[in-house]
Amino acid sequence: MLSFILRRVAALALTLCVTAAVIFIVLEILPGDPAAVMMGVNATPENVAAIRAEYGLDRPAVERFLTWIGGLLTGDLGLSYTYRVPISSLIAERAQVTLPLAAMAVMLSASIGIPLGTLAAAKANTRTDSLVMGISQLGLAVPNFWFGILLVLLFAVTLGWFPAGGFPGWGAGVLAGIKTLILPAVALALPQSAILARLTRSAVLEALQEDFVRTARAKGLSWPATLRKHVLRNALVPVVTILGLQFSVLVAGAIIIENVFSLPGLGRLMFQSIAQHDIIVVKDLVVLFAALVVFMNFIVDVAYGIIDPRLRRT
């Protein structure tokens, strides 16, 4: 088990390095001088030269890369051009909104998608199955940001049950914070739960064909108990894996959803940094988002290895 985890950690470190290198190279190759982009309309040759010197953009690419990686490892991400505060503290502050939002969305999508998918599989080829699959087909087609707008229209504008946007900060109380995050989390969770319902249905149907199900039924175990104790336990392994892998979709979704609800999270910071040409923040945020995705895949890999010992050998 230890060697399996060590191998996965080595692969994680390698992937993170490659991720950082690719992001750096892509931003180097892309047309546009970061210094000129940051200055926008004020981009006189003198101003651009001053910015290049201030942010070390005039140094060789390899040196800049190593400095950047060193900064990433030590948590020193430099100063934001727009906000004039350390980028690490900016990210830490905004993560307090995005991470709870993502966690709520994952919990919601799992608590909607897994039961619905199990129900559809247990009632395979009946009207219930068709209804669940029809709803999930619709769920896949609804853009999460539009669903967010509809939720605002109904629950904030018309009924006034939830705030239409903004975030009071955790200082205003946990309940107030959670209340603000409910609508965005529901909007984010919808397409995820549709995907999860379909995957759960296939996984449960596959598990139902296994010999151990027939054995369990033959020894007199009731149908609900067979489903709970044997089928679901086996079917959930691939489902949990996919739930982890969907994290990347969720992260991308947060960029849009935080804008719909004006939430001061990482996604909105990314969007604002683009609008304000704060390339250094954009670069750090992209690497952070990618690292989150890679790290989540690592967790899934390790969890999968713990659940299914056969996979430790691969």
């Binding site: 960029i255 849009i256 990314m270």
Partner: protein, 289 residues
């Protein structure tokens, strides 16, 4: 307990594609959207970008079928032109993904187990970690927002999806007896790929292209909503939703119609993809999986 995924009789699928409701419904929806997009090239009920302030924020009427926005522009005309825009982005982005993905996937399968295969697949794994929106954000951060950059970002996101699918399909073809025979007859890997592999996996690729098309429409709408895709004054469904948010309290329908159009378009593509899969890939009855 009823049986799960059952092996279906292949000939019945081949003989009767019209028995698949998802194929028919999806086909009709996609045909309607393509027609609207094509008609918008020569005719729209009103000029889609013309400002008409006296008629702003009107509800649906005989003159303005779906009402007008905060600049008095006709919503129906904007949706028609938006369809053109979404289709163009979808076609180009999915083509980029399909062409490069199939190229890499077939090369990977032809050299299965080699360093080339390993390099292509690991790169695909890596690119997979970047959702379309994230790649687009990175590209637009430096190169500036715009529809071309959005297309490139969505296209890049599609490449590993097609590469993985092509590789797995092609590996199955490579293991067939007739391919062994072709190899024994001295055919090169390129000749076998062109003559045997690609024709055999074409159905698979077409089905995936339809599904990715739906994803591309969603991604373009999301990017345009953020202001990173289609730029004003060109109408786009995502942009219309963004603009509707400011006037939502006075005219909620402005936030409804573009969203419904996206849902119908995406649903149409997904249903068409499901239907095509049943017809083109009859080995497994996946009509409701």
């Amino acid at each position: 307990m009823s049986g799960p995924e059952t092996i279906a009789a292949a000939p019945s699928f081949r003989r009767s594609p019209w028995r698949h409701p998802s194929l028919i419904i999806g086909g009709i929806i996609v045909a309607l959207i393509v027609t609207a997009a094509l008609v918008s090239l020569v005719w729209t009920p009103h000029p889609p970008t013309k400002l008409n302030i006296p008629s702003r924020l009107q509800g649906p009427s005989a003159t303005f079928w779906l009402g007008t926005d905060h600049f008095g522009r006709d919503v129906f005309s904007m949706l028609m032109v938006g369809a053109r825009n979404s289709l163009a982005v979808g076609i180009v982005a999915v083509s980029i993904g399909a062409v490069f993905g199939v190229l890499l996937g077939t090369a990977s399968a032809a050299r299965s187990g080699s360093w080339l295969d390993e390099a292509i697949m690991r790169t695909a794994d890596f690119t997979f970690a970047f959702p379309a929106v994230l790649s687009a954000v990175m590209i637009t951060a430096l190169a500036g927002p715009g529809v071309v950059n959005a297309i490139i970002a969505i296209g890049i996101y599609n490449i590993p999806i097609f590469a993985r699918l092509t590789r797995s399909g092609a590996l199955q073809v490579w293991s067939r007896d007739y391919v062994m025979a072709a190899r024994a007859a001295g055919k090169t890997a390129a000749q076998i790929t062109m003559r045997h592999v690609i024709p055999n996996i074409a159905g698979l690729i077409i089905v995936q292209a339809t599904i990715q098309f739906a994803t591309a429409i969603l991604a373009e709408a999301g990017l345009s909503y953020l202001g990173l895709g289609t730029q004003p004054p060109n109408p786009s469904w995502g942009r219309m939703l963004f603009e509707a948010q400011t006037t939502m309290q006075r005219q909620p329908l402005l936030a409804i119609f573009p969203g419904l159009t996206i849902v119908v378009a995406v649903l149409g593509c997904n249903l068409l993809g499901d239907g095509l899969r049943d017809v083109l890939d009859p080995r497994v009855n996946r009509s409701r999986s």
